[in-house]
């Protein structure tokens, strides 16, 4: 559509006139693309580059080849972070069924249900900093509600955030709270779009309850599930705030994930190994890339059919 036949008379205004359709998108895109390229694309390239240097952020960077990556290979903290990221990825997905469950629960028409839906969405609106704070109180080994409840039932106390085996799960649960709310709202909007005639048809077909859900509703919620999946994966890989607030990576580094570890390495009090941090970021990016590729691929499949 862009390349039209060459015009005969080459007057400038005429040219603009004739190519308005081609120029218009360029002009509309220009500011956005420039901004994005400058602040996102270019830095990604830079990060890749930086991961081959040793640099403390103050002096001159020194090229060290793949040294950073080699060091990553037997960095125990890195390994722990990777495993934790994996835990995040898997556990965080629980937000999807949980969100669906709540959405189904709330998908009714009773007085005030709109308000309820909004209130259920609340955790998502609140800063993770606050969420982290709240949950660290909840987990507090001495006065935390969790232990009070456990105590009430006669169990001993658990120090969720102090136990290297539990800490990651503890933080993930805190993260699941807002994420579930997010998935819930996605599913609520998805449920709005469910074709009522199909539900009725299925009802006539004798599908009920779980069968209806599984065979008819969930397939129709595919778009919502897809978005929920994407945002959840991204959320899981980006997890930073909660860890920073709740444990600061501890105890002794057992709740670190890659994103936190790279922050620690690159910018925190005892860090400033920019190149090493960049190398961690690159690894994280490569992991994410597989999801991005999947996402783009499925989008491409859809687009092929479109206009």
């Amino acid at each position: 559509m862009v390349d039209t036949t060459t015009p005969l008379n080459d007057g400038a205004p005429g040219w603009i006139r004739r190519n308005r359709q081609a120029l218009a998108p360029a002009l509309f895109l220009l500011p956005g693309v420039l901004f994005f390229a400058f602040y996102v694309i270019f830095p990604i390239v830079q990060s890749f580059n930086l991961s081959f240097y040793r640099w403390d952020g103050l002096g001159e960077p020194v090229y060290v080849g793949a040294e950073n990556y080699i060091e990553l290979m037997d960095d125990r903290a890195f390994e722990v972070s990777m495993w934790n990221n994996l835990k995040w990825l898997l556990m965080y997905l629980l937000a999807i069924p949980a969100g669906l469950a709540i959405a189904l629960f709330l998908n009714q028409n009773v007085v005030g249900i709109r308000l309820y839906k909004s209130l259920f969405f609340f955790p998502f609106v609140i800063s993770q900093v606050v969420v982290g704070l709240v949950f660290s109180w909840f987990y507090d080994p001495t006065f935390g509600l969790l232990n009070q409840i456990l105590g009430f039932f006669g169990f001993g106390t658990v120090n969720v955030l102090g136990d290297p085996n539990l800490v990651t799960y503890g933080i993930i649960v805190a993260g699941l709270w807002p994420q579930t709310a997010y998935c819930m709202i996605l599913y609520l909007t998805g449920l709005n779009a469910v074709d009522p005639e199909q539900v009725e048809a299925a009802r006539l077909d004798g599908a009920k309850g779980m069968k209806m859900l599984w065979y008819v509703i969930i397939p129709q919620l595919r778009p919502a599930t897809f978005i929920a999946f994407v945002v959840t994966i991204i959320g899981a890989l980006r997890s930073f705030d909660l860890i920073s607030i709740m444990t600061n990576g501890g105890p002794f580094g057992s709740s670190r994930v890659l994103s936190f570890y790279m922050f620690e390495k690159a910018l925190s009090e005892y860090g400033f190994r920019m190149g090493y941090g960049a190398a961690i970021a690159v690894v994280l990016f490569l992991i994410m890339l597989s999801f991005i590729a999947y996402f783009l691929w499925s989008m491409y499949q859809e687009e092929k059919g479109g206009r």
């Binding site: 081609a22 694309i41 009773v110 309820y116 109180w137 709202i185 783009l296």
Partner: protein, 282 residues
């Protein structure tokens, strides 16, 4: 339509449901309610170990007073507003344009550009941390609200473009063709035809971006420092560092920090859901 509409069930079940929903809500929001209660407790409740019980006295005014008048909280809040509002405006404006261009025009590389935005948006933003920090430093925008705003605008443009472009795609293309046949210039089509139709998407995005930016902590820590430019998320952590173990004050501070996005969400709730339906869960 699913599950079966409750009004078709027996009245007893309807009543049960109506009772169940608020109960579930209380359970769901328990952590928040706890914070709210914390924030009006007197400090003696914490020294005497009355963490989860009924407040022994109402000290809401004192606690919130302290947050507002004896700390940098108001300043942080103002910073947050000054960071969030321009970001929302900037990101939404940019993405309306990019979304329009990508959604309406056919040209070579359209999908490629679009995918660039999408991919960039899903990038773990930590990978940007070091270079962006350096960029910001080099431009002399370190520790300025502007530096934060510029970056947020750029980064959020990815997500917003995805959202806007899909939304515009879902609009009937005939509207644009009709306008073209009527002799309307492209930018006028954008302004008079497409923009008004994007209102729900703009509203939804604004709320979403507002919450994202308001709650951003990572970049606040990376790109700013100190009360003169840090937003409230960073503010609350330093506030908390100051009042560590003063749970009532921390709670009050948290509530204050959480309030604006909550208010924003409530104000725009109707549009938010509508826009989300169209944009994200097409």
């Amino acid at each position: 339509m699913f599950p079966r509409p409750i009004e078709k069930s027996s009245p007893a079940w309807v009543a049960t449901y109506q009772a169940l929903v608020p109960m579930a809500l209380v359970l769901w929001l328990l952590p928040l309610i706890a914070v709210a209660v914390f924030s009006i407790k007197p400090d003696v409740d914490f020294t005497t170990g009355n963490y989860w019980g009924w407040p022994s006295a109402f000290k809401g005014f004192e606690n919130y007073g302290k947050v507002f008048f004896a700390s940098d909280m108001p300043r942080y809040l103002l910073n947050s507003v000054l960071i969030t509002v321009p970001t929302v405006i900037g990101a939404v404006a940019l993405s309306c344009m990019t979304g329009f261009a990508l959604g309406v025009y056919k040209f070579r590389g359209n999908l490629l550009l679009f995918f660039m935005f999408v991919a960039g948006n899903f990038v773990p933003f930590q990978i940007l941390m070091v270079p962006v920090r350096d960029l910001t430093l080099d431009m002399g925008l370190y520790n300025t609200k502007l530096g934060l705003v510029l970056f947020h605008v750029a980064f959020q443009t990815g997500f917003c473009t995805l959202f806007m472009r899909n939304f515009i795609r879902a609009l009937p293309f005939e509207l644009i063709e009709a306008a073209r046949v009527e002799g309307v210039a492209e930018w006028r089509i954008f302004w008079f035809v497409v923009l008004p139709l994007m209102k729900p998407a703009i509203a939804a995005l604004s709320v979403l971006i507002f919450t994202f930016i308001w709650n951003d902590y990572f970049w606040a820590v990376v790109l700013t420092q100190g009360a003169e430019s840090q937003p409230v998320t960073a503010g609350i952590t330093s506030f908390n560092a100051q009042y560590r173990a003063a749970y009532h004050l921390m709670s009050a501070g948290s509530i204050v920090a959480a309030l604006p996005p909550v208010a924003m969400f409530f104000l725009m709730q109707r549009h938010f859901i509508a826009g989300l339906t169209l944009g994200a869960v097409k």
